[in-house]
């Protein structure tokens, strides 16, 4: 690992305005609340949490698609929101995204070639259409779509979900990024296809030495993707636990992480049929417009005490490399 992180978030907070008109006062929700994070070159990292916990917002901030309300985003040590236009464009080339829904991510009116060629031409990776065609064919082979000539002229309507996701991956890696964000990139796919797509991503990551951030609600998927890397668990905009994936699965220190692990389905009928619901005090996730005071998890936490209502727990290093934001972790 080099000393300067590839991407660093420093106390990033993002507010969104909801409601409010000409006469009524708007309210703000904190989608991301004071998050600091470092992602290194070539690292695999997973971000895990329920829907609405702010994990996708955080991802979009890391890509420079959203500006944080407070805090800084550094790319190789440089604040991306103070970059010159040229530097920012270079950063955008370096940070790519694979969207959740391959059906929405590709323009239905464009053929595969028309989706893949423009970025190559724009960033001068190919100088003309002949070179672009050759590069696109190579890309298609890289993502396992062969023979590539078969796919060049196809429209998305003639591709399966897995094939579309492969095209989306091809597009993301086409501009030789150093960072790829996979935002629930496999959750729309068949359970049986997910492993194939993750394997492809991991293979490309090694080959191109990219850092990969994987956003998911499924901790087993995160484990398969992350391997020896790190994972952060998010709850209502904050990171509640951070560490090596195996440490977190074997020894979850935050009660919320424990819940997330316990509800992930186990493909074993004896275990699954005897499993109980987690001892949560409430199923519904609290509203972001009026988040709970103190530790945001206290309204659902089975172990909550008085202090949890009053004080916000800090993210502390409990074991080497294993951080937790809970008053009771030791």
């Amino acid at each position: 690992m080099s000393d300067t992180p590839l991407i660093e978030l420093k106390n990033v907070t993002r507010l969104f305005r909801v409601g409010g008109g000409i006469f009524s006062k708007p309210t703000f929700i904190k989608a991301v609340d004071n998050v600091s994070l470092q992602l290194h070159e070539g690292e695999t990292f997973s971000l895990v949490g329920e829907s609405g916990c702010g994990k996708s917002t955080l991802g979009r901030i890391m890509l420079g698609l959203l500006k944080p309300t407070y805090g800084q985003v550094l790319f190789r040590g440089k604040d991306i929101w103070r970059m010159s236009k040229k530097e920012f464009m270079e950063f955008r080339r370096n940070a790519q995204i694979i969207h959740q829904d391959p059906y929405d991510a590709l323009n239905p009116m464009r053929t595969v070639y028309d989706s893949l060629a423009p970025p190559l031409l724009r960033y001068r990776i190919a100088r003309n259409h002949d070179e672009a065609r050759e590069a696109v064919c190579k890309l298609l082979e890289t993502v396992g779509l062969s023979p590539p000539e078969d796919f060049l002229k196809r429209h998305p309507s003639r591709l399966s979900g897995g094939q579309m996701q492969r095209i989306a991956i091809a597009r993301a890696i086409s501009v030789q990024p150093s960072f790829v964000l996979a935002d629930e990139a496999v959750s729309m796919l068949d359970a049986s296809l997910r492993i194939n797509i993750i394997n492809l991503l991991l293979e490309l990551k090694d080959k191109l030495n990219m850092a990969c951030l994987f956003i998911t609600h499924d901790i087993d998927m995160a484990r398969y993707f992350t391997r020896s890397g790190r994972v952060a668990v998010m709850y209502l905009g904050s990171i509640v636990e951070l560490g090596k994936i195996d440490d977190i699965i074997d020894n979850p220190l935050h009660p919320y992480t424990d819940v997330l692990i316990s509800v992930t389905p186990v493909p074993d009928p004896k275990v699954a049929k005897s499993s109980e619901l987690p001892p949560l005090r409430s199923l519904e996730i609290p509203s972001l417009t009026n988040p709970p005071s103190g530790c945001k998890f206290h309204t659902r936490c089975p172990y909550a005490k008085d202090i949890c209502e009053k004080e916000v727990p800090e993210l502390r290093e409990i074991q080497p490399g294993h951080f937790v934001a809970c008053h009771f972790s030791k």
Binding site: E50, S51, S160, G161, G162, D190, A191, S192, L193, R194, I195, N196, N199, H217, D218, I219, D220, M221, R223, Y224, R227, I249, V259, L260, I261, V263, T264, P265, V266, P267, D268, P269, K270, V271, A272, K273, S275, L277, P278, L283, E284
Partner: protein, 331 residues
């Protein structure tokens, strides 16, 4: 679990074939399927997208997309009702009262400009002559409460005011409105996150325990079936390749396709190396492979697999498999 005394067949499907006209020819979505569903069981129907599992389930209500048609076969309900020969009028009375369905994609199954209570009223009035609004609403409220939602509030909400989990539970309640004997659940949990998914599975399990309602649970995710199903049928390219009690299917899978499906499931109980991707690409469903449709992807393929389509054979213990490895190729 199937009871000791002989389980009663509630739905019997014989030789069902459903085809679709597509620009490139004819796509056979369900290919000569035989299946018995027993009263009071939870049967899981698993397979990759496009394998025909939803088409098969929709046929139970004689619902087929406009470009499709039921080519042949019989579906008998309760030993007496021949579903495929019912007229539109008879079907209206049959659907929802005998067999109800919770469609895939809860997010879009509700009308965005109607409040929840109007959905309940509409559904009831479309199938029953009862017109006492209060009665219908109190029954609706009961069902919604059963799903652990606050009926007072939920009945007055518009779909956009609810979260995905709330919508999914509301739709399940709607499916139960006319007290059906058979409930089809088409991917009821796939678009939800793990926590909500867990709660909905638990609700359905409790509901099954309390009412003994027969359920057909369709999903591409075998892991969810481990939790809810008693028996599982696995489909591959329009055919059923294996039927087995849930524990038998998970601990002792017979068909090579079931075996690779299970290996592709990630789980923290397995080491990373035990998790294997599916081999080869899914063949074109318009021109499926000859013989056993799985043979191009199968690591045990023999010469016969290319030529002869294997039939479902009974291996005892409630297990059936369509694979030449288990014999039964005389025909």
């Amino acid at each position: 679990m199937p009871q000791e005394d002989k389980p009663q067949v509630q739905i019997s499907i014989r030789g069902l074939t459903v085809e679709f006209r597509v620009p490139r020819g004819v796509l056979r979505a369900v290919d000569n399927v035989d299946l018995d569903i027993y009263r009071g069981e939870v049967l899981g129907l698993a397979g990759e997208s496009g394998c025909g599992k939803s088409v098969l389930a929709h046929s139970l209500l004689k619902i087929v997309d406009p470009n499709g048609y039921i080519k042949s076969g019989k579906i008998i309900f309760d030993n007496k009702i021949d579903i495929l020969s019912l007229s539109e009028d008879e079907l209206r009375k049959f659907r929802w009262k005998k067999i109800a369905i919770v469609f895939q994609g809860a997010q879009s199954a509700l009308n965005p400009v109607m409040r929840v209570q109007e959905h309940f009223l509409d559904t009831f009035l479309a199938h029953e002559s009862e017109s006492d609004k209060e009665k219908i609403l109190s029954r609706s409220a009961d069902l919604i409460n059963k799903m652990r939602l606050d009926s007072e509030r939920v009945l007055r909400l518009f779909p956009h005011e609810m979260s995905g989990g709330m919508k999914q539970r509301t739709i399940a309640a709607l499916g139960l409105l006319l007290n059906p004997e058979f409930l089809i659940l088409d991917e009821p949990t796939s678009s939800l996150d793990v926590l909500t998914q867990k709660y909905i599975l638990k609700l359905l399990r409790d509901l099954h325990e309390q009412t003994g309602l027969t359920m057909l649970f369709i999903t591409h995710d075998l892991a969810t079936l481990a939790e809810i199903a008693e028996r599982i049928a696995v489909m591959y390219l329009a055919s059923i390749v294996e039927i087995a009690p849930v524990e038998e299917l998970f601990y002792n899978p017979k068909h090579p396709y079931t075996q690779v499906l299970l290996k592709a499931l990630p789980s923290r109980k397995k080491s990373i190396d035990e998790i294997k991707p599916l081999p080869g690409p899914l063949p074109d469903p318009v021109n499926p492979p000859s013989g056993c449709k799985f043979h191009p992807r199968c690591s045990y393929a023999m010469p016969i697999c290319k030529k002869v389509r294997p039939k479902l054979i009974d291996l005892g213990n409630g297990c059936q498999v369509a694979c030449h490895l288990y014999g039964g190729t005389k025909e």
